[in-house]
Amino acid sequence: MTIDWVNFTPWSALAGGILLGLASAAFILLNGRVLGISGILGGLLVPRRSDASWRVFFLMGLLVAPVTLALLAPTLIATPRIEANNAAIVAAGLLVGLGTRYGSGCTSGHGVCGLSRLSPRSMVATLAFMASGFLTVYVIRHLI
């Protein structure tokens, strides 16, 4: 293993992580909800749900984050580098949509909140999606 020192950004990573932790703590303490993006979005797709409004308000906040941060601190935002072509993007989106709903969570709900709750279920889920992510990138970048 070689470390990519050029792209390693410890301080912004730590600062961003602390913001994610603060948001997750604020959500459970103020609204009594686990901050899990796939669950919040997925819950909007089920009909007969009367709890749509909090999901919509949360997601609106998420969507306006780039515009507002660009006004406040534009230097903090990295330009996204997207290698995947459109076909891979569609396949990846389908896998993420299906997988997070069957697995009841994603990087936020299991990875951040679940591990913070010390939930064994979320630890298993996090280990599974991390292992699968490592393996997928290994296959794409080093085998194919």
């Binding site: 070689t2 990519d4 792209n7 390693f8 990573a13 730590l14 992580g17 913001l19 994610l20 932790g21 603060l22 948001a23 997750s24 703590a25 604020a26 959500f27 459970i28 303490l29 103020l30 609204n31 796939s38 089920v46 909090w54 308000f57 906040g61 306006v64 984050a65 780039p66 990295a78 330009t79 996204p80 997207i82 290698e83 995947a84 891979a88 569609v90 990846a92 989106g93 389908l94 896998l95 993420v96 997988g99 709903r101 697995g103 009841s104 969570g105 994603c106 936020s108 951040v112 679940g114 913070s116 064994p120 279920r121 996090t126 599974a128 999606f129 992510g133 393996l135 990138v137 290994y138």
Partner: protein, 142 residues
């Protein structure tokens, strides 16, 4: 008050994703590429988030109502089953394929990046497929 808090928390979480680098699929794939030049940044994102999260959830577990008076919806599921593991493995494959997970994809779509929007539309299609499969499964077992 609750609606303002939900919006503000969404905003804060989005800022965290942007500052941390999670909204850049290149950064995420640099972390997931253990065999290449490995960028450990995302381990610090998770570490920082969990450090603060631990404090928040430790306090939350002791409460019966939230500070704004809402009911506490802490997860009750305990079972580690095939759905959890296979679902998470599937999610990880998609994550490794594009470098997007749900939150960062939504934020990048908010920034007006077309491929992020394509990812979000496909992800919603995947979630709707799940709802369809679940409905069929329930119909079979009834």
């Amino acid at each position: 008050m609750n609606r303002i808090a939900e919006f503000a928390v969404g905003l804060l979480f989005g800022w965290g994703l942007l500052v941390s680098g999670m909204t850049d699929p290149g950064k995420v794939l640099g972390f997931l590429d253990l065999a290449g030049a490995w960028d450990p940044s995302l381990a610090l994102v998770m570490g920082g988030a969990i450090l603060v999260g631990l404090l928040g959830f430790t306090l939350a577990k002791k409460r019966t109502r939230s500070f704004l008076g809402a009911a506490m919806h802490l997860p009750t599921a305990r079972d580690i089953d095939r759905r959890l593991v296979l679902g998470s493995l599937t999610f990880g494959a998609g994550w490794g394929l594009a470098g997007f997970c749900p939150g960062p994809a939504l934020v990048a779509m908010g920034a007006g990046i077309p491929k992020a929007a394509l990812f979000v539309v496909s992800m919603i299609a995947g979630m709707l497929l799940f709802e369809l499969f679940e409905r069929q499964r329930r119909a079979r077992t009834q």
